[in-house]
Symmetry: C4
Subunit: 280 residues, 4 copies
């Protein structure tokens, strides 16, 4: 999908996914740090979040594959054209393959929440593999293109492979909030960079970029760092907002909870006090 | 062995080895998770499995070396031809070297099971080294070949080096089921990719592949990802089947065991009960 | 800033920062090792040190950005020149971007000291990112320059990326004095190497270096190792001096502290003694 | 030192050092595994071994530097020839630099044994740095040489950098016998490969090797794997021999020790028994 929309759609998805991960991880981190030592079981609310995420990932991947296959100029599930002895629309097939692996990561997420038998960390390994496959296919994708086009895509790979490396570390270092926010940040970076690629290669307005000018390559490299800075800022702001919102709500919720507990446990605690005073 | 068979034979071996590792690791994982904390010693059944695996690896490596050396057009253990001042059949010697390291990994597996003195993890280090040597020799092997031939072999290296990296991590992170299944998956991927190489370079039927066409390289890259997806699916299915089969059998077995224990320990437990009632 | 001063200024900063880190880490290590198990809270003195460091980093980065932008031949905050259809002073913009990320690392340091909600390790991740971005921009910076110029800058990258890798490890392995001193050492090495670059590319006196001579490249490579040796020596000496100075002062301080504690706790301890003697 | 001797001398050193490390690590491992939990202090015998190793490394490095500098055709401590405007014998200076870092690693070993203030792991970091610097200088050393010459040196780098990576891991994973034996193995591999380089580039007898023939490069790659196999075998044999020798001696020693303890502690134990019987 070599047009602006073809880059804006995945960009939007990755941006939203990055924000979603940030919110989810901050909520889980809040729960972990504010929990007494005894209770370690995640509340059903988090499980439901994971199911929704997994289900949505599977659905979006399926839709993505269908669109790539059955769009007007798509391959319509034909891989090889025997008449012309050539492959049919390999680009669409490659995109379908990328979606397939994100779909697999969605299935892994649902499975690891549905059953305790699935070893912890399979969901992260699957997500890391999905990112790896995306980067792997892009790597051979950008071969023999004009310098700026190749460079701007290889910068995308920095975000993709960093995200993949961060996510695979989460398999071994569970519940590390820094790693989790880092992978959220890399998704946001990837999303905003997709938009940037769209703006550079298919400008909506203004002059066309010279794909061979060295100064453009230098600017784009620097621009990637700015995107990274903005992604860091967005993750920091989102985390803070989520944290303080939850804190305010949970403080109110706890007051209610404590109130309820007080009325229910008054009798027993009064008894205990009476017994204590007897012993003294 | 530049023909289809020369790729199908190692492919078959790696496929079987991948499945074997998956089954073995799932069985061990089942044992670990269903064991009470007290008993930590592996039952002799697992030891016997390791001996069989080690013995078979040694045997297969030995046969492989012999075949590579004494096949009709082999080097017959001659390394240097003084008359022509040239090396004799270096390709066969390289394959023999690969087999040698898999043989060493078999010896390490047997040794680490036979004696407690051999430090834990030596077997995994030896297996990782065997994969590393295989990849290392292949890496210099594919030099100066047509693009598709070089590319399809370098994709094999992705599976080989990933497997090597995963296996070397197992030296430090023992009994991590995700790492174990990952290395099983990489063996299956390697095995199925050997078949793919055979089909591409020495097609049994249909047209010969153009080794210089860029579209072929793009297709083959994508095809590697499909093999990976299938390998993941196979590992997931095999694991589930093994797990539930063992669960059903062990449930039945435990009933029998508990039944036997009941009859045998009745007297002593009745005694204990009697003594208890006496004390009260 | 393609002159000697343009390399000496960042060199001086990195040198000082390296020494500062060494001193800070040795002081913290001294505190950790000489503390009884019970007290684990860092004294306010260390917090103040971190605030000063963070504040200074933010200030220096801000000044750096302003200078790069509003220097006489700077871009004056103009990025694109619409009249000539060209980017304005991309080099200055790149340097500003580098400073920006060091500024972010300063903010992260202040934030992680000011609030307990900021997860531990965010400061190190931000510092590592700042180094990574510096190296990343330099990497594309040195493209298409004479061999010696490119080589001497790529040697700088060895120090930068090693420092980045060491610092990111500190996120996961907190309070590891070896990692901490290593990252201090890499900053010193980076600082002294900036000076070396200045001396080679813009010699203050003596003949101009031939930028294409292979012998010069060989010498410069070796010279980098000498800088490393000197940096190791400097870190070792600084650490020793700081350690023994603190030891002497803290020994005197402890005598005073013990003296004060004695007078203040005499009454209670005498009481306790009296009670003990009563019981016997 | 471009002759056979110039490769045989460092080869011999590395071979011996590899064996020494293997023996030392196996002895320490034996001590660790056969020790009751209470006693954790290394006996003075190990400390003395470390002092000897460190002292020898410092001495050998010093001699190496001196020889490289003041050999007949050496630079005699002159770095730059102002008359010819050229560097003096850069090769000898590079070798001196390598020796310098091994000397530093010797100093680190002595220091970390002499004082408890030196953080644990500094000796391994210094050794890893020495190997890294060796590899780093060799890497730029082999530039623009005939293919076989470059290739045979780059294979050396595999052993050098693997050893460096293994040793740096030991900083964080102390007392891991597998890592320790691996680094011993890499030193043996490096030593034997130095001999191989000598045999190939400066053959003592027989025909001169064609430095451009691809078959030679293929053979040399395979030959490196054979050296690895032999190094593994040597480490395994040495470890076993040392282990069983120590076991036999320590068994005899323990009998004596137990005998001595019996006689010496008889009075006290008899007393204790008497007291026990009194209480009953």
């Amino acid at each position: 999908m070599a047009n602006f929309g073809g880059h804006a759609i995945p960009g939007t998805f990755f941006l939203f996914y990055g924000f979603w991960l940030t919110v989810k991880y901050v909520l889980q981190h809040y729960w972990r740090t504010n929990q007494p030592k005894g209770r370690q079981i995640m509340p059903p609310f988090f499980k439901r979040m994971e199911y929704i995420e997994g289900g949505f990932t599977i659905f979006a991947s399926f839709v993505g594959i269908m669109v790539e296959q059955f769009v007007v100029d798509g391959p319509h599930a034909h891989l090889y054209d025997r008449q012309n002895n050539s492959w049919v629309k390999l680009m669409n097939w490659q995109h379908s393959t990328m979606y397939l692996f994100f779909g697999i990561s969605g299935i892994a997420l649902v499975a690891s929440n549905a059953s305790k038998l699935v070893p912890t960390g399979v969901d992260r390994l699957a997500l890391s593999l999905a990112l790896f496959v995306e980067g792997f296919l892009f790597y051979y994708h950008v071969h023999s293109r004009p310098p700026l086009d190749a460079h701007i895509h290889s910068l995308l790979l920095v975000a993709v492979f960093s995200g993949s490396a961060g996510t695979v570390l989460e398999v071994f270092l569970r519940d590390n909030i820094i790693l989790e926010l880092f992978s959220g940040c890399m998704f946001i970076l990837q999303g905003s960079w997709f938009y940037q690629i769209g703006f550079v290669l298919y400008p909506l307005s203004g002059p066309v970029w010279d794909l061979n000018l060295h100064a453009n390559i230098m600017f784009v490299t620097m621009c990637f760092c700015w995107h990274l800075a903005v992604a860091l800022l967005l993750v920091a702001c989102t985390s803070s907002v989520v944290w303080f919102t939850v804190k305010r709500f949970s403080a109110r919720g706890r007051d209610i909870e404590i109130g309820m507990r007080n009325t229910s446990s008054k009798t027993s605690s009064q008894k205990a006090l009476l017994e204590q005073s007897d012993e003294e």
